[in-house]
Amino acid sequence: MPMTTQAQVLELLDSVADPEIPTLSINDLGIIRDVEVHGTGQDIHVVITITPTYSGCPATSVIEADIRDVIGRAGIQNVSVKNRLQPAWTTDWITDRGRQRLLEAGISPPACCASHPLPDDTDVVCPYCQSHNTQVLSRFGSAPCKALWRCSDCLEPFDYFKPH
């Protein structure tokens, strides 16, 4: 049986999609804190630590199940998924590739750094025409992570991934 490394597990995790926004992998979302590989062969045990996004997000339990599934299909049955709450997840952890993938899916990525307690949404880009002339329609959207915006140039409504 071949050796399994941390890098191989990370690569497997890259095929786990965010259930709410399937164009993003959980790597893109920045929720993987740690991957530990213990033992080899039949005795291998993988421990994956993730930071949940929103407290009430139904995707969290789906992500855990998907992780077990993907690792299990690679022949590793002994998988633990741990939650780490602190420090809290922030949209600042979304990768550059993740931001690019959001744009391609018609979702405007967070416009600013979330470390400021309540960022101003002054620079939200339209994912269709790249205009910055946009306005908020509703601060809450179809998922906990989204708000609903509209472009004042091409007039298309679009989802905005809120800085968090």
Partner: protein, 256 residues
């Protein structure tokens, strides 16, 4: 050894208070689902409800561990009788009209945010960790409810009158927010919770700022509903629990 047990019992009480407030208000807000005045608001209120129910899961799971009797978050949510609930009277108030829902939310969000900010810098690392996570969501809730208080207060004659009525309805529940019983004082001396007098003065300062902008008057508080933290509730809570707990009571252990 006894000292540790006492601290665990005190932490258990605090975690129940936090979890019960979040769960009962989340349940109340979910009653607006498919019934709000506009689609955007329907989505907003159910999102806030979802956040709060998520918070309740974190707090109640931690409460179950602090208690050490093997009770899960679900056991605590579905199998406790009314006298064992530790939530504030404010969160069990019926929704009323949209104005009352928003005033109740604004009062609670303002309190909730200050409390969580204090817990997040407190000495209990587990409680501070959960608070540091949920506080970000509560900041967003407060922005939403403050905006509505200002828009409706400084709106039409009708909306202004309804908001003023809503303030009258919610005001008797305010004194309870800042009541410190022995459990709270013990937690204060352990630097786990923020000092109650700071919490109160900051709340009054922030709320009066928003109400002034909304051209609304904080009514004089003539009577107060208190005792929620000791399990003394209004009749409303019994109805909420009857609806929320029915399935687990009628079909113990049911899952899907």
């Amino acid at each position: 050894m006894n000292k540790i047990l006492e601290v665990d019992q005190t932490r258990f009480e605090l975690l129940l208070r936090l979890g019960d407030n979040a769960l009962i208000l989340g349940h109340r807000l979910s009653e607006w689902s498919a019934d709000a005045p506009a689609l955007e608001e329907d989505i907003a209120l159910t999102n806030v409800a979802l956040d709060l129910i998520g918070h309740a899961r974190l707090w109640l799971a931690a409460a179950g561990q602090a208690e050490g009797q093997g009770r899960s978050e679900d056991d605590l949510a579905y199998l406790r009788d009314v006298r064992d609930w530790r939530n504030l009277h404010l969160v069990e108030l019926p929704n009323g009209d949209f104005a009352r829902t928003m005033v109740r939310q604004f009062f609670f969000d303002s309190y909730h945010l200050l409390l969580l900010e204090g817990l997040a810098c407190g000495r209990d690392t587990e409680i501070a960790g959960i608070a540091g996570k949920v506080v970000k969501e509560v900041r967003y809730h407060l922005r939403h409810s403050s905006n509505w208080v200002i828009r409706l207060g400084d709106g039409t004659e009708e909306s202004h009158a309804r908001m003023q009525q809503a303030l009258d309805d919610c005001a008797p529940c305010v004194p309870e927010l800042f009541e410190a019983d022995q459990i709270y004082l013990d937690l204060e001396s352990l630097s786990i919770v923020p000092e109650i007098h700071l919490l109160k003065s900051e709340w009054e300062h922030q709320v009066s700022g928003v109400l002034a902008e909304a051209t609304l008057q904080m009514p004089e508080i003539l009577s107060a509903h208190t005792g929620g933290r000791q399990g003394l509730h209004s009749e409303y809570l019994g109805y909420i629990l009857a609806e929320m707990q029915f399935l687990q009571r009628a079909y113990p252990g049911a899952s899907w």
